[in-house]
């Protein structure tokens, strides 16, 4: 009984945190290279849009693999879409917050417009038939205690998200690319002096953030909402941004932060069925996620760890 309840909480945590993890990892790439990424929300919207549209148009031909193909395509499309932000913020040195906000507005308007064009005037799409389903991991789900807690009723994409967080951590700390990306974000002038192409590194950072956030949006649409409308992505991008800051721009910290957000919400939802917790007034459960977040933020984020040159356009002459 208790293990069932705990399993509900943990699987809901992994399930709802996955899109946040993807998007927040994307944010890390961009912000570590020194470009503020308010546009995560916009990339998620566009990722959700392209994921659903691809699936709807191709599911008859491709069958079960369609959502995976759609995921891949969303990554590419959002990578290209992020060039808009990159061009404005890096090449033209525009205010990065403003361009990010513009990205959010364009993504929402453009995707709704395209949905209406593609599906003859409809304001929202139909539901997809092939989703990224929740699965029980073979063999691992049979392990007592750990199996039901972590390996049942979770879609593959959640494990992919956790795996990628570690992967990004290694890329950031153990590869030349990661070192250069961080150098460009901390002190672009110094990086330039030693021969690193600042503009190119920042472009890569922004494009990668588009790719990751796009996948995050697509994962949300393909595994949770099942269709696309203007309310499919409503604030998840900003939540991802918060997870990134909470996690101090560190891939693993961000992973934990995203999981923590998911856990706080799952706990508040399952609260009414958990002994002891169910005796609390319902308003306590409703505000629980926010209280926990506030406590965590004030308790752990004493020292901000933002990249040194975050938000500053790099001007060669001002070196």
């Amino acid at each position: 009984m208790t293990i069932d309840l705990l399993s509900t909480v943990t699987s809901a945590t992994l399930y709802s945190a996955a899109p946040l993890i993807f998007a927040a990892l994307g944010g890390i790439f961009s912000e570590r290279s020194g470009v503020i990424q308010i546009g995560l929300e916009g990339f998620m919207v566009f990722g959700a849009f392209s994921g659903i549209v691809t699936t709807l148009l191709l599911e008859e031909q491709l069958g079960v693999v369609t959502p995976w193909f759609a995921l891949l395509l969303s990554a590419i499309v959002c990578g290209l879409f992020s060039l808009l932000h990159a061009t404005a913020a890096i090449t033209f040195k525009a205010d990065q917050v403003v361009t990010g906000v513009a990205v959010n507005m364009i993504a929402l308007g453009l995707s709704l417009f395209l949905v209406k064009q593609i599906f003859s005037g409809k304001g929202q799409t139909d539901f997809i038939s092939y989703r990224l389903n929740k699965i029980d991991v073979p063999f691992l789900s049979d392990i007592p205690v750990i199996g039901p807690l972590f390996f049942t009723s979770v879609p593959w994409t959640s494990y992919l998200a956790v795996f990628l967080a570690f992967f990004v951590w290694i890329v950031m700390t153990r590869t030349i690319f990661g070192l250069r990306l961080r150098a460009v974000g901390e002190h672009p002038g110094a990086a330039d002096t030693v021969g690193i192409n600042v503009v190119r590194m920042r472009y890569m950072g922004v494009i990668l953030s588009g790719v990751f956030a796009g996948v995050g949006g697509a994962v949300f649409a393909l595994s949770i909402s099942g269709n696309f409308s203007t309310i499919t992505i409503a604030g998840q991008g900003f939540l991802a941004l918060a997870a990134m800051i909470f996690g101090k721009w560190h891939p693993l910290g961000t992973l934990l932060a995203a999981l923590f957000f998911g856990f706080a919400q799952a706990l508040s939802i399952s609260g009414p069925y958990i002994p002891f917790i169910q005796d609390l007034p319902s308003v306590v459960l409703t505000i629980l996620p926010y209280i926990l977040t506030l406590v965590a933020l004030t308790g752990f984020s004493r020292r901000s760890a933002a990249p040194g040159a975050l938000g500053q356009a790099y001007d060669k002459e001002s070196r």
Binding site: T8, A12, A88, K93, M105, I106, R131, S225, Q265
Partner: protein
């Protein structure tokens, strides 16, 4: 709107390099391009003013952002107007017409277009249009408006609302008849007087069939959080509920996804939809047991007839089972014969007034106490 915002920001950046300004201009250009594309698509929808013919009634309709074929409120309302127009020989575009709103900013402009074209009655479909209707109706006291599913208290506005509790009562009966675990769930959008009608109507229906059934109730505090919907559904199904009634807009998408996931794994779980027939949302796994539907088209048609005869009055009109305002979806393939029989019985009892369905939790307590005695 976005463009103006950006332009104002552009003006504020004085000290920036010329490149910085170029960057903002570049974004502006893209936005401009996009909005031009949008307005081109809509340019053929301008209302033409014809004033010669004034014998027949002119009816306009404004959609919310869902679009005219949203398979929901807008489409249903338009079908009702079309039925009325057909019966009275009206021509589309001249005597009756709709305007789509692609953003919330267009509500007021669209309403104004009908006012300026001297339309006799303009339907505003959906609660989202309430602020726009309040503003335009107050500014144009000689024009008449009707708002669906929301109340606007003005002398030239007719508000049509629904007795949601009666529809919820019927789906409660289906839930109780279908449940094998004697546990059912209700997921609402936001805790409000309106949602309480759904909740208490549903619970009354369930307990009328099976007084011992357990009804789990939870509110998502959002109409657009699919992730939360799925998590709540997961928790409820985990608590042995096998039927969940969801009235929570986009949050409901997550409930459907969760049910499909479980059904694909072999669990026998159901979802009851709301507002419209959500049978298709449940496919391919077929998880939609039934849906509580609102007869928007009947309501729009009735209001149009009243307006035609000059009998349309300001104030609030409530549409229940009797008036065809609420009911159960036409797709009944997942419901058994005896359940259908029960539904008919209770439907009659509600229409004749033998059963008065509770609208609030307090009324529900009284109702349940009466059931026991």
């Amino acid at each position: 709107m976005g463009l103006f915002y950006l332009l104002s920001v552009f003006k504020k950046i004085k000290g920036g390099s010329i490149l910085k300004k170029l960057g903002i201009l570049w974004i502006c250009a893209v936005v401009l391009l996009f909005f031009t594309a949008c307005s081109q698509a809509n340019s053929d929808e301008n209302v033409h003013q014809d004033k010669e013919e004034k014998r027949t009634i002119k009816i306009g309709m404004i959609t919310d952002t869902g679009g005219i074929d949203d398979k929901s409120f807008n489409q249903s309302a338009w079908e009702g107007i079309q039925a009325f127009a057909k019966a009275n020989g009206l021509t589309e575009g001249k005597d009756y017409k709709y305007l789509q709103s692609s953003s919330e900013a267009e509500y007021e402009t669209n309403l104004n277009q009908f006012v300026q074209a001297n339309f006799d009655l303009t339907f505003a479909v959906g609660y989202k249009l309430k602020p726009a209707v309040e503003k335009i109706a107050a500014a144009n006291p000689k024009s008449n408006f009707a708002i669906i599913d929301e109340k606007v208290d003005l002398p030239n506005v007719t508000s049509a609302t629904f007795k949601d509790e009666e529809g919820a009562f019927l789906v409660g009966i289906v839930a109780a008849m279908t449940s094998e675990t004697n546990t059912v769930g209700f997921i609402g959008g936001e805790k409000s007087a309106l949602m309480q009608r759904f909740e208490s109507g549903f619970e009354a229906g369930v307990k009328s069939i099976n007084p011992k059934a357990k009804v789990l109730v939870q509110y998502a505090n959002s109409f657009s959080d699919a992730a939360k919907g799925s998590a709540i559904a997961s928790a409820m199904y985990g608590q042995n509920a096998d039927v969940i009634y969801v009235a929570a807009g986009g949050t409901g998408n997550g409930v459907f996804t969760e049910a499909k996931n479980r059904k694909a794994k072999g669990e026998n779980v159901w979802v009851i939809g709301s507002d419209r027939d959500q049978y298709k949302e449940g496919l391919p796994e077929n998880v939609t047991l039934t849906s509580m539907v609102k007869g928007i088209h009947t309501v729009c048609e009735q209001l149009a007839v009243l307006a035609q005869n000059g009998d349309l009055k300001a104030g609030t009109m409530e549409f229940g089972l009797k008036e065809g305002g609420v009911g159960i979806s036409d797709t009944t393939e997942n419901i058994g014969e005896d359940t259908l029989g029960q539904i008919n019985d209770y439907e009659q009892k509600i229409i004749t007034g033998e059963i008065i369905v509770p609208k609030t939790r307090q009324d529900l307590d009284v109702f349940l106490a009466n059931l026991k005695s």
